[in-house]
Structures are given as C-alpha cells and as structure tokens.
Symmetry: C2
C-alpha cells in the first residue's frame, strides 16, 4: 500500500478513521490517526491509532487480542477522512459489543 501524499490532517495533526468490517460492511468504530500511526498501520498491516485522551499510540487489540487486520484503506474526496476495511478479531468495542455503534436515537 502507498500512502497518498495529499492527506489532510486537522489542526491537531489528526485524521478520523472509520473502521468497517471488510465482509459485512458493518461499521465497527471510529478512531483517530496521525501521520505516524497511518504509517505504522500501513507498514504492519494492523491498525494503530493515536489516543487523544492518553496522547499516545495504541495498537488496536494489543492487550485484548482484538486486533484489526487491514484489508483496504480508502480516503474521501476531501482527503480528510480514512475508511479502513478490516478483518476484526473478536469484538471491536471495549464494552464487548461487536460494534461501538450499539445504541440508537429511539423513542
């Protein structure tokens, strides 16, 4: 994979990554990457994010084993959002839910 040289990072140096199950198209989570975590993701074949709360890199599943193997990375017309298609091992959400999007505007 080749990282496009025109990706646009925000004023904090971050780009949002939408993470999608490569087979079912289910949206699993949204997290943030900086340029270095994009590179670590492409180089390793597994997702690496930047934690905004902890201000550090994290490899998804490093402790839980719930890793994401990268199948494809797309980017949008504005070059400011990534869409990462992955093979998800186990649940994507720290709550144990398959997807972080398990609640809806109901009522």
């Amino acid at each position: 994979m080749k990282i496009p040289n025109d990706l646009k990072y925000d004023d904090k140096g971050l780009i949002p990554a939408v993470v999608q199950d490569w087979k079912t198209n289910e949206i699993l989570m949204v997290a943030y990457m900086n340029a270095e975590s994009v590179k670590k993701t492409v180089d390793s074949g597994f997702t690496w994010y930047w934690s905004r709360s902890r201000q550090k890199f994290w490899k998804k599943g490093e402790t839980s084993g719930h890793v994401q193997q990268v199948k494809e990375i797309l980017y949008d017309c504005d070059q400011d959002t990534l869409l990462i298609k992955v093979e998800q091992t186990g649940p994507a959400c720290h709550t144990g839910s398959r997807s972080c999007f398990y609640r809806s505007f109901s009522g």
Copy 2:
C-alpha cells in the same frame, strides 16, 4: 426519534457523522453536525450538516436534489460519533461518485 442528552461535541461544538446506505451498508460520506443540525436532522428527517469551511448549516442535496432521508441514527460507546443510515437520492459525493470514498491506498 429522541436525541440522547449525553452526546459529546468537540471543542468546536461539532460531532462527526458517518453516513451509511441503510440497505447496502456502503459508507457514503463523513460530515459534521453541531447540536442545532442534529436537531434539524431529527425534526426534518433529512440530513443537515454544519459546514466547517463556510461556517453555515447546509441541507444535503438542497441544491443538487441529492438528499438523504434518515432511516436510523446510532451513536458510539463514547457518545462522540454518529452513524446515520440513510436512503440516498443520487450520488452522495459532489464529484458525482456514489460514495466520497472512491480512492484507495494502492500500489
């Protein structure tokens, strides 16, 4: 639909919205909403965003006719991202592509 009262907006008052085709699960685009555009979306049944570049509300498809009828709105475990399932009329992308994510990290 009922807007959850614990949604978290960023320091600019915005929350990202991932927009997905409700039937195929294809990701169409990512845009941003503030609290008022979330309310306009829920009240009207069509997506209303906040333009960060133009600093104004925009109803998706207002000029192009490529509107998005809202079918379901989900939110994630952190309450800081929305996932909006829509019926998309015409292409979602201003380039004429069905999805804004039409390019990949290739090579």
